[in-house]
């Protein structure tokens, strides 16, 4: 019983520290916005360098959905609706969620490891002693870059999964679904509201992953084990948070 209370107490204390840390990040954001080059550099680091994994994963997920969807729909003679099936699943659900899981693994872990190592090698302390606030110079630009990159990557994932090399390649090019039907049904069914909700989900996930990553990195023990734990925690906590938030957001948006 006391062990359970200790775990709950530690969890709540950690949550409190993370929220206090978030307030400090938000306080540092105005100064960061005055130096957009710092943010652009980080968008390249966490966003552009994540492009390959997002493009490849989006294509594979779209292809699998194309195959699975065609196999089911063709039994009812509804293979012309393949585009709607792929687009709805990708835009509403898999686009933001899979992108976020990949982003947490690729960019979140890299952010935590980078910041953790900067702490372990006294780089953050050195900045403080040079009267440079690491919250403004290191943490806030990385947080903002994650927040900006995630919705953009999610959009690219959706484009790759629905068209180009994903569902379109399998359904239209390989299995012979009519291209006109594929695209016209997508246009008729996917509403602007779906796109807004997809964007909202990916922005919330981006916010969460960036917050978890910079918090874990900044609070890592300054040892190799500490950095390793921070990296692992970033991926585990972010992934669980993404799935839980996805349920909450889906229930809220599509109620």
């Amino acid at each position: 019983m006391s062990a359970a209370l200790t775990i709950i107490g530690d969890f709540l204390a950690g949550l409190g520290r993370a929220q206090f840390f978030l307030l400090k990040i938000l306080g540092a954001l105005p100064a960061t916005l005055l130096r957009p080059r710092l943010v652009v550099h980080q968008v390249y680091s966490v966003g552009v360098l994540s492009l390959i994994i997002i493009v490849i994963s989006g294509s594979f997920v779209g292809m699998v959905l194309g195959l699975q969807g065609y196999r089911t729909l063709v039994r009812f003679g509804a293979e012309d609706s393949l585009g709607v099936f792929v687009a709805m699943v990708i835009v509403r659900e898999l686009g933001p969620v899979v992108t976020a899981l990949l982003f947490a693994g690729r960019a979140g872990s890299a952010l935590a490891a980078e910041i953790g190592l900067m702490k372990a090698t006294d780089q953050l302390s050195a900045m403080e002693m040079m009267a440079v606030d690491p919250m403004r110079r290191v943490i806030a630009p990385r947080f903002l870059a994650g927040l900006i990159s995630m919705p953009l990557l999610s959009g690219i994932f959706c484009v790759m999964a629905i068209g180009v090399a994903g569902g379109h390649a399998i359904g239209v090019e390989l299995l012979g679904v009519d291209a006109g039907s594929y695209w016209s049904q997508i246009r008729a069914s996917v509403a602007a509201e779906d796109l807004v909700q997809s964007f909202t989900k990916s922005a919330v996930f981006g916010f969460t992953i960036s917050w978890v990553a910079v918090y874990q990195g900044y609070h890592a023990a300054p040892t190799s084990d500490g950095v390793s734990r921070a990296t692992t925690s970033t991926v585990v906590v972010s992934s669980l948070a993404i799935l839980a938030l996805d349920l909450a957001l889906t229930a809220f948006m599509f109620r």
């Binding site: 190592l117 900067m118 090698t121 006294d122 780089q123 302390s125 050195a126 900045m127 403080e128 002693m129 040079m130 009267a131 440079v132 606030d133 110079r137």
Partner: protein, 273 residues
């Protein structure tokens, strides 16, 4: 007899400092004065908290009790903006350099200038090259920290620490890993920065002879206390057995070489083997 130094002669005043990590006590009521414009050496056996003292003076760590004043202002009662303003007047050379690994040697030294000085890039270039020339690494400007040896990293960190020409520079083990030539140059550099620019220097090191040769004032720390302090000559002739053992590097004496442990025979032959 020289007049007693007054408050304005002291750039840093540490009073009644208590500090510890968990149950381990590092400082138990320490008073230290850093005279303005002088070279002050902080020495003592490993683990006595010499680096800790620099971090406390820099406001990075907070003492459990006691006060630290820099130029008359309490470092640990200052707001963050005041503390950062104070830090523009103090430089700290970290033991491992603390160089920013994603920046070149040139950009590392230029970092504080670009952040604070608002100078044209051409002037920053000249200033950086002058600082790098002083530490003998002008030719290494395009290298990255992972391409430098430990001694070179510390020299780059020294160039960075003096880039803004602060009132005080704290050097944490500046001579570690330096070859004899670099060591001699660094000693002369610390002394000349002090003499030509009036920079107050606080040097933490184990290199007794080197440090005593450039210091104006010396503190020997040990067991959470100040064991002795004074001019290098007075320290050399200190009556304290602890100080004499430390200066002469003798294995036997009041300072134990071994970390506190149960008897060796008990460890080797005891029940838990």
């Amino acid at each position: 007899m020289p007049p007693a130094p007054n408050d304005s002669d002291m750039l840093v005043r540490v009073r009644g400092l208590h500090f510890g990590h968990g149950t381990r006590k590092i400082y138990d009521g320490v008073d230290v004065d850093i005279p303005r414009g002088k070279v002050t050496a902080i020495m003592g056996p490993s683990g006595t908290g010499k680096t800790t003292l620099l971090r406390i003076i820099g406001g990075q760590w907070r003492p459990q009790q006691g006060t630290v004043e820099f130029d008359g202002v309490d470092v640990h009662k200052a707001t963050q903006s005041k503390l950062y303003a104070m830090r523009k007047h103090m430089g700290l050379l970290f033991q491992n350099g603390g160089l920013l690994t994603d920046l070149s040697v040139f950009d590392n030294v230029a970092f504080p200038l670009r952040e604070h000085a608002k100078l044209p890039e051409a002037m920053i270039r000249d200033l950086v090259l002058m600082k790098l020339e002083a530490v003998g690494l002008r030719g290494a400007r395009d290298l990255f920290p992972e391409q430098l040896s430990g001694g070179m990293s510390r020299r780059v960190a020294l160039a960075r620490a003096i880039a803004l020409e602060p009132d005080m520079v704290m050097y944490d083990e500046p001579f570690a890993g330096q070859d004899p030539i670099s060591l001699g140059v660094l000693m002369r550099l610390i002394r000349s920065l002090n003499q030509s620019l009036g920079i107050t220097s606080v040097v933490v090191s184990h290199d007794v002879d080197e440090l005593l040769s450039i210091a104006d004032h010396v503190y020997i720390l040990g067991g959470g206390k100040v064991l002795d302090h004074g001019t290098p000559d007075s320290i050399r002739h200190s009556q304290s057995a602890l100080v004499q053992q430390f200066l002469k590097g003798e294995p036997d004496g009041p300072i134990a070489f071994h970390y506190k442990a149960r008897p060796y025979s008990e460890d080797l032959l005891g029940a838990d083997r």
